[in-house]
Every structure is written in C-alpha cells, then in structure tokens.
Symmetry: C2
Subunit: 320 residues, 2 copies
Amino acid sequence: MTEAAVPAPVTKVLDAAGTWLPGSMAQVERRLARAAAEPGGPIAEDATATLAAGGKRLRPLLVLLCAGPAAADSAVSAATAVELVHMATLVHDDVLDHAPLRRGRPTVLATSGRPRATATGDLLFSRAFAELAGDGDRVRVNLLTKASVALARGELAQRRDAFDLGVTEESYLERCRLKTAALFECACTIGDGRPTLASFGRRVGLAFQLLDDVLDVAGPPERTGKARGTDLLDGTVTLPLIRARDVDPTLDDLDLRALDAAGADAVCERIVATGAAEEVRAIARGHVEAAKAELDAVDFDPERRRLLDLVADGVVERYA
Amino acid sequence: MTEAAVPAPVTKVLDAAGTWLPGSMAQVERRLARAAAEPGGPIAEDATATLAAGGKRLRPLLVLLCAGPAAADSAVSAATAVELVHMATLVHDDVLDHAPLRRGRPTVLATSGRPRATATGDLLFSRAFAELAGDGDRVRVNLLTKASVALARGELAQRRDAFDLGVTEESYLERCRLKTAALFECACTIGDGRPTLASFGRRVGLAFQLLDDVLDVAGPPERTGKARGTDLLDGTVTLPLIRARDVDPTLDDLDLRALDAAGADAVCERIVATGAAEEVRAIARGHVEAAKAELDAVDFDPERRRLLDLVADGVVERYA
C-alpha cells in the first residue's frame, strides 16, 4: 500500500503528447509550488518540501489527459487540486503512522514534529480546494470532496484491518477503491467534465494499487528503491498474501506483529512461490485491459484515446 | 486559551437585528449541518456531532453583520466557511492536545480515535473552502487561507511556549493575534468585502481572547462551566500570569508541570490577588473601545454601526 518512485509511464506519455502536455504539466508544477509557498512561514516551507520530494504526478497527468489539449486553465487548477489532496493525505497518514520516511526522504513528521505536520496537511487540503474556488464550479468541488472523503475512509479501513490475517478479498478491494481508485476516478471525471471516464479512472487506479502491492512483495529492491515486505511490517494485508494463503495454508500461522525485516522478506518469498504475485499482476492487467476497452464507447478524438491507452499501459509497464 | 459557552452577546445582537439576522444565522446553521453531513459515512457523523456541540457562532455573526442585511447568499457561505475553519482547527488541536473534553462534551478524538478525528478535521477544512467555491471569488479564498495559516501558526506558538514561565507579553500578544484575532479579522473583511474593518475585527478578536484568558483565571466556575486554571494545567501562560509576576515575584518559582487542579486554583487566587486579572480586563476593554472608535471613520449606515458596537460590547459583557 505504498508507492514506488520511477515515473517511467509519465515520461512516455509526455513524449507522446510533446506539443502540449509537458507545458501543462510544468504549469501544474508551478501552481503546486505557488500553492504551497504563498502563505509563507514554516508551515509553507514544509508544504513546499513535501511537494518538492516528488511523486509520479500520475493523478494530475490523468486530469490533463482527460481534459485534452484544448482545455482551459481550469484543467491546470483541477490537476493541481487533485495532487494537493493526494499530498495532504500522505502527510496526515504519515503523522498517524509515525512514519519517519517516505520515498526515501524524512517525512514532515520526522523533520518538524506532529503539530507542524498536522498543520502542513491542513494547509495542503485548504490549498487544494482554494485552487478550485477561482472557477466557481461547485460540481468539481463536490467531486473532489467525495474523493477526499473516500481517501479518509480508505485510510480508516486500512487501520481497522491492520495485522488482521483474516481480511477478505472483498474487503481488500473495497479498501483499494476508497484509498486509491476514488482519486483516480475523480482525476478523470474532473478533467473530462463528464462522468463518462469514471469507470476508466477507477479501474486504472485499482490496477495501480494492485501492482503497487505486488511490487512490495515481489519487486526487486534495486528497482523499487526499498526493501520488500514493508506492507507486511506495517501490518497491511494485501491481495498477494490473501491469495497465497489459499495455496499455502501454513501462511495462516503467520504472526504479522512478530515479523522483522528478514522475516518479512522470507514471507514475500513464500508468497511469490505460491504464484499469487503473478496472479494479482494478471488481475491488474485485466483491469487495465477492461479500462481501455471501455474507452471504445467514448466519443474521443483518436489522439486522446491513444494517450489514455498509453497511460493505462504505463501503469502495468512501470512494473514489467 | 480556551473558550467558554454562553452566547449572551449573540442573543442580544440577534434581538437587535431581529428582522434579518436570526434568519441569516439559521441559514448558516443549516449550511453548516449540510456541509458536515453531505459526504456521508462515519466521518461526516463525527463532523456533524462536532458542529452540533455548539459554540457561540461569533465569527459567522461578525461576517453577517459586516456584510449587512442586503448581503447576498455569498455572505452566508462566507460565514459558514469561517466557522468551518474554526471547528476544523479545534478538532485537530484536540488531537494534538490529547484532549478528552471540549465544552464539557467528549471530543471527536475521545469518541472516535486519532485517525477518525484527523479525518474529521480534514473534512471540515475541505468543506470550508468548498463553501467559498460557488462564487469564484479568489479574494475571499485568499483571506480565509491567510487566516487558516495564522491559526496554525498560533497553535504552534502556543506549543512552543508551553510550560515556559518566561514568555513575554509581546510573544503572548502575537500568539493571540495569530490564534484568535486573525480569524475575527478575516470574518470582518470577508463579510464587508473591503479591508476597512480589518483592524476592528483584529481588536475585537484580541479582546475576546484576553477576556477568555481572564475568565480562565478569575471566572466563577458556575458561570464558565469549568474549573479555573485549565490553561495553567495545560502549561499555557497567559497575560494575567505574565502581569501578576511583575507584582508578585514569588510566582517566578512556579512549577507549571507539577500543578494539580487544586494547585492551579490556588495559583489563580494568587494571580487575582495581584490585580492582574482586572488589569488585563481593562486592556481588553480598551481594545473594544478603540475598535468602536475606528468605526467612526467607516462609511456605514447607522443601523449597521449600532449592531457592530453591540457585538463589540457583547465581547466585554459576556464577561461582566
């Protein structure tokens, strides 16, 4: 349930839409920096550092792609708003998780303590909705509110299910929908301006999360930049483990609270040995294919269609 | 640095502007309830409970008064937004303070735990800015952002200064400006639509905080609904103690960390005995008088002027 670096799919899509997308993404980046820095003071500094720490910017990319090259400035503000909500959530999650590191860098919690990290998240939330406010469009505000609430509910579900080996596949998938897919869905609908791309966004987001969870179990550390099994160490039970238990019942005796790094790595090995990682990868690929197939029904120009295919494929490729 | 109940000044102003203000305040109340409940689920329930727990609604009252009876629906949304930011901040402060009670009721933290309380505050922040979004007015959004950041900085200052007997009067006043006066200022300027009432709002907010701090030291529990000295027990050094130390140097030996409820009550007695509480009360009254005098320079109809005088006086009276 953590994200890896390497924005390879983003690079590919940026290349493919070189005439307009890199420029718009650069605008989003400037807007993000301004949103964080403008209020001034130490909290704004922390917010700026958080944004500068990077991320794949997949969500704003989706907003811009769904809005298309002719989109107005409002697409840039929507893309900025979606990323700000994402970052705000990460900062508050780190506070709740007592997390010292994210993407290999110290978290705001680690550098500035709980009160400032809480305030930094608050600022990023405020700025997200402030970005949308300039346009006076209540529909977009409501979409982002809905997604924010889903993110929070997903985070709560993850906590509720922590260290619980008995988590069902259904409950895991619902958690993914709330924690990840909802904001991807929001990115697509808020960009396109119609609900048409909701299911596309949801499926791509779900695939993204599934592959992220596979990556945590099966990804080589030299590519993911982190040790395997960090989800296990956090007590987060994901689909590879849920599926693996069907094949290897000795995994039922696992005591997640007793795991150390070496133990987590060994459990990852056992999960991969059952074929569960490959199975979940296939499920994710299935969602990507279904997402792309759903675009057939949408009245898009071929160029936009091609770019959305590319970003959907990119979610799989970042893993391959 | 805590607030007492009893909205007597509000009642008085509502009576005086009976033809329009009670109706607008009722609209704000409905809008608050909708903002909290609309997203649905447990977080929305917590947000709803937080709002239902009450409060004086002084900030939205100021917004409406400064906007005047002819104000459009945008005054109601601004009033709602200001109160939502206030409530969001309280919820997150309670999380950081591990506070079990507020206004005599269990906090969201107490009823629902840290993750849900964090999410509830996030939701209230989001909803505050979402309220402003319908109008597409960036100026109001920026005013509210500025005030939110000030609140957060004030909270950080309070933490930095906690249990520090050596806090200067200057540093205390700056903390009050950030933690309280900034949102009062925002309420007035966002309502009036011009910066004209900034200083009026700031002074009324400062007086409000000063009197609140006097109340904590000198207020009879049967009127404030809480024991004296809760600020002392939280390690919050306020002006009555700062001033009292000038008169009674034995207060320099105080160990705030070692205080219990009986000890805090005894310290309050010693502070009152120095005359410091009365002194701070007079400073607050001075700010109220200065605030009212500043209205002389504002081009207002007499009726609005009268109501603003009344609300400024109310801040003092709630104490008398």
